[in-house]
Structure formats: C-alpha cells, structure tokens
Amino acid sequence: MTTLLDVAAAQSVAPEVVMDIYRRILRIRRFEEQVGKLFAQGQLPGFVHLYIGAEAVGAGVCAALRDDDYIISTHRGHGHVIAKGGDMKRMMAELFGKVTGYCKGKGGSMHIADFEIGMLGACGIVGGGIPVAVGAGLSASYRGTDQVSVTFFGDGAANEGSFHESLNLASVLKLPVLFVCENNQYGEFTPAERAMNIKDIALRAQGYGIPGVIADGTDPLAMYVVAREAVARARRGEGPTLIEAKTHRKGGHAEGEDAFLAGQQYRLADEKEAAQRHDPLVKLHAYVVEQGLVTVEELETLDQATLQEVAEAVEFARTSPEPSAETLLEDLWV
C-alpha cells in the first residue's frame, strides 16, 4: 500500500510528533462528525460549518506551536480550537448555547475562544480575524517574547481588504505572524476560480515582500514541516510568512445546505471526488501503520477513547443549564 503523503517530509518528523498530530486530527474528526449528527437532528441552533477534510492544516500547524503562541480562527473554527488543545466539553456546551460553554453561550459555533491556550477566538466575519492576529504578533514583538501569532482563514477571505492590509502591515513591521490560508477552493458556493484570476494565493505574498509557500493541506506532516519552518523564522524575528494550504471541504459550506439549496449544484465534479480521496485522517492512518509507529489495534483503542470523550462532551452539554437572565448583561465592561 502506498500512502499519499510526502514521505521525505514525513520522515523528518519525530514519531512522537507524528502521533501527536494523529491524535489532534482524530479528536477533530470525531467531534465534527458528532456535531454534524446533532445538527441534522435539529439539536443545535444557528449555523454550523464543519472542518472535516481540512484537519491536516489546523493539526499540522498547531503541532508546530507552543502553548503560549496565539491562534485566531474563522467561522469554520472548531478544528482550530481542538488543534490548539481545546476542551471538547466546553466547546460542545457552547454549540448548545449553554452557560458552561467557553463563552457562556454568548458566542456559539462561530465564536469559540480559549484565551488560556492562546486561542484568541473564532470569527464570523470573513477576514475579520486577520488584523487581530497581526496585533497579537505586534504585542509579542513589543513585549520582547518569541511568541508567534497564527491566523487561519479561507481562500474567500484572501479577497477581503483586511487580508491585504494585514500582510503589508506585518511585513513592514516584521512581525511574527503566520498567515495560513486554507484554500478549499470555495467561498460558500462560489468556486475560487470565479473569485480570483490566479491559481495560487501564495503568489500574493510577493506583492508584500514576504515568503509565500504552497503546501499540501491534506498532508498533515507536510503541513507541520512547512509551519515549523515559518514558526522558526518568525521566532528569529525575520517576519511573517504566508502559507497556502491546498485543501478540501469534505462536506458542504454549512450543515443543512442541501435542503436550503433545493437541488442547486455548485461543486466541481473532480474536486468533489478529490475531496474524498485526499482524506487527511485516512492518509495519516495508513502512514503510521506502514511505518510501524503503532498497530491497527492501538489505533482502534485510541479511536474508542476519542469517541468516548465526544460522548461525554455531548452529555455534559445536554445536561448543562441554560444561561440565566443575569448572564445577558454580564461581561460587557471590565
């Protein structure tokens, strides 16, 4: 059996890091699958955007970070929170709008934050998190730490003014920022090829005088290797990097979209097929077994434990109380 991974890159990654990345991806996948089910059952309010298919990006990049580094995420943000070490119980409770959630039910799916682990929040405004991440990079640099700030965003967000202003700002101030573009080839229902006349978003780095790197966003270890280098560069004070991760959404833009689109199709046939073939979890599973890092049985045990963790999170969320009337007016000012 051959893996679809970049084996040369993979072999530069220590086995314990490989397994660490595997665990991050697995936790995201099982969490998201459960969220999809809960949404379909009508148990979750609001909008839900799943990270399934892009786990390699969040997991690979976050494995290259320290606990005190910062990340900022998007509307499709559950995966980033988990990749940075987030707690499934508090996440799930937030999705249910419960007071035990990360944001006491005030944020919901598109706004989970955990400042304790450097997760400065997901964002419902496309491109809205990018400038904030530059600010975190400025702060790290000003305070003289070697912390790094990472902003995840989509191909669609790369067409917002905030993206362009932020790249330039981080470049001229030489800030320790990683701009990680998850190019899943769509913004909602519009293919990227209709939203930009270039194939590679990484090209845009040139216009701002910073390195632009293309990575296989379905290959967790390749992502890790690219991020490791950009992080090292940022820590050395050499400034920002734009990383374009070529990836896929396995599902739709938002849960429940089939009913809403009423039969209208927008996915390009080849891409839909590629999204299934380039599943980061399947790839990494094959690799770790092939390399003898772990047995299939051990992976099965790990999977069971992860499923158990997800089940406990759902139970916690379900049995948690709703926010009270006092909660409504709290947290506005210091």
Partner: protein
C-alpha cells in the same frame, strides 16, 4: 390574490425591475444560488452580465455600486447580512452619503444596498446585530425596513426607482413569512407609513420584525379592552411624521418599539419627535422599547431576552394606561 413568502416577494420585485429597466443590475456574494433565496433564479434569466457574483470584498463591491450609479446604472448591491454593512460602511458613508452634496449636486446615485438585518435565528453576534440607525444617521441616504411580503415587493421596487442611495433592510427572521402579494405591478412610495391596526388608546410605532411583536401585543391588549394603534413606518428615513403625529393626537399615548439599541437608536428618534411636536396631546410620557445594549448573544434563550418582546410591549402599555 396569490400568497407568497417575504423572500419570494424580494425575488419578484428584483425580477420585475430588471425586466423593466436594463440599467438595473444585481451584485452580491452568491446571488447566483441565492444565500437567502431572494436572488434565486435571476442569474438564469439575466445572465452573468446583469447578475454579478463578486469575490468576498464588501467595501469594493459597495463602492463599485456607487460608481456605477454615478455613471448611469441602477445597481442593487446585496450585502447578505446587516453586519456586513460595517465592512462597506466607508463607501456608503463617505461616498454615497456625501457625493451629491459635496459635488454641488452633480452626482445622482440611484443605488440600493440590500441586506438581511437583525436577529432572532441564533446566528450569533457577527450575524444578528441590527444596524439600521447608523444609516438613518447619514445624510442623503434613505432607509427602508419592510415587515410583510406585500410591503417588501412594493417598497423594493420604489427603492430601485428612487434616484437616491437607499439602504434596504429585509429582516433576517421574516424570510418565511407568507402574505398576499399581487402579481400585477404596484409600487409603495418611500416615506409613507402604514397603519397595520387601528386603535384609539395608544400609538405603537415599529418597523420590521417589531411590527409583528406589536400586533401580537395589540391583540392581547384588546382582550383587556385597550385598543392600540400599530403604525408600521416601513421607511425609516424620510419617515412619516405626519401619520404618527395624527395618531398621537388621537390616542395621547406613544410607545416606540425598535430592535436597535437604546442609545442613538431608532426608537429615540421617533420618541423625541413626538415629545417635541405632540407634547400637548400626551396624557403620559413617551416610551421607548429597544434591545439591551449588548452584542447579540448566540444562545436563543439570551437572544430572546435581549430583544423587545410582545409581552414587554403589553406590560409597558399597561403601565402607561395606569399612569393616565
């Protein structure tokens, strides 16, 4: 008369105006498939040239709408959610609101910025905040906020035919509302309120979703023998002072209900005008009901508490009746 949803009425208005006038074009993210379905079907009929599905670039797209309007087109710019108008704000406030005046009357700007405003569907802080007072604040911008399918169609057609910039606020949670919508041509003039329910004891003024809460409250009040007059402003700027003041002259009591915030909100504008111009008719102080002054929380439980409700309107009117 055919019954249609609020969304279908948007579709009908856009299609009719695009057929009628070649200068009308539609621009907005995913208008092809129609995120709120209000633009669905238009691409099939009018094609790429007139139905433009641009990159996610609200500032650029809104500004392109202004420039196209200044040079002879009549663009409708769809900005999906009210909160996305924050990204487009500079072009609306510094260009659309200023160009005609600062260029001494040279520019004519027939552009419509259309969006889904307000909350009520658990969409969370970045997708639910009502933003309409910000546009009432701007000079030279008309602001429309319909509450029924019938009104949406007639008002959107009027907005597209208006020679001024108009911000058109559909309500996020009214999309599925059904009502009678004639297939034949009709236009509702901007600036005219509609008395949605006649009454003699108290005047309740609202727009958008809040009209429905006010009507519900009025039913409940009627059971207790209190007859509320519910005025749907429909256009928030210029607004129909005349209809409101005439009603207050009759009832002597006034409650403004709006989904925006209490500080610099829409309700404050209406209440101040009534206090100023109808003071001698008032039997009790003017009242305002607004949303709590916080970002719109995600939790449906909190979101409900945040916005004015029918129950709150009933309670406030009862207090007012007790006061005199």
């Amino acid at each position: 008369m055919p019954r249609k949803t609020y969304i279908a009425a948007i579709q009908a208005a856009l299609a009719e105006e695009m057929r009628r006038d070649e200068r009308v074009l539609l621009m907005g993210e995913d208008v092809r498939l129609g995120v709120f379905a209000g633009t669905r079907g238009l691409h099939a009929e009018f094609g790429d040239r007139r139905v433009i599905d641009p990159p996610i670039s609200e500032l650029g797209v809104a500004g392109a709408g202004v420039g196209a309007a200044a040079t002879g087109l009549r663009p409708v710019v769809d900005l999906m959610f009210g909160t996305f108008l924050y990204l487009a704000f500079d072009q609306i406030a510094n260009q659309a609101a200023a160009m005609r005046y600062m260029f001494g009357g040279q520019a004519t700007l027939p552009v419509v910025f259309m969006t889904q405003n307000g909350g009520g569907i658990g969409a969370g802080p970045h997708h639910s905040q009502p933003v309409h007072p910000l546009f009432m604040y701007l000079p030279a911008i008309k602001v429309v906020m319909p509450s029924t399918p019938y009104d949406v169609k007639g008002l959107l057609k009027a907005a597209i035919r208006d020679d001024n910039p108009v911000v058109f606020f559909n309500h996020l949670s009214l999309g599925g509302q059904r009502g009678e919508v004639p297939d034949e041509e009709y236009v509702i003039p901007l600036g005219k309120a509609d008395i949605k329910r006649a009454g003699s004891d108290v005047t309740i003024v609202a727009a958008g979703l809040m009209v429905h809460h006010a009507l519900k409250a009025a039913e409940e009040l009627a059971q207790a023998g209190i007859e509320a007059e519910v005025i749907d402003l429909r256009t928030l700027k210029p607004w129909d002072e005349e209809t409101v003041l005439a009603s207050v002259a009759k009832t002597g009591r006034f409650v403004a209900v709006d989904e925006s915030y209490p500080v610099c909100g829409a309700a404050g504008e209406w209440a101040a005008t009534v206090a100023e111009k109808a003071f001698h008719h008032l039997k009790a102080p003017v009242q305002r009901l607004s949303s709590r002054h916080v970002p719109v929380p995600f939790s449906p439980t909190l979101e409900k508490m945040m916005m004015p409700s029918a129950a709150e309107i009933v309670a406030r009117v009862r207090e007012l009746m007790a006061a005199g």
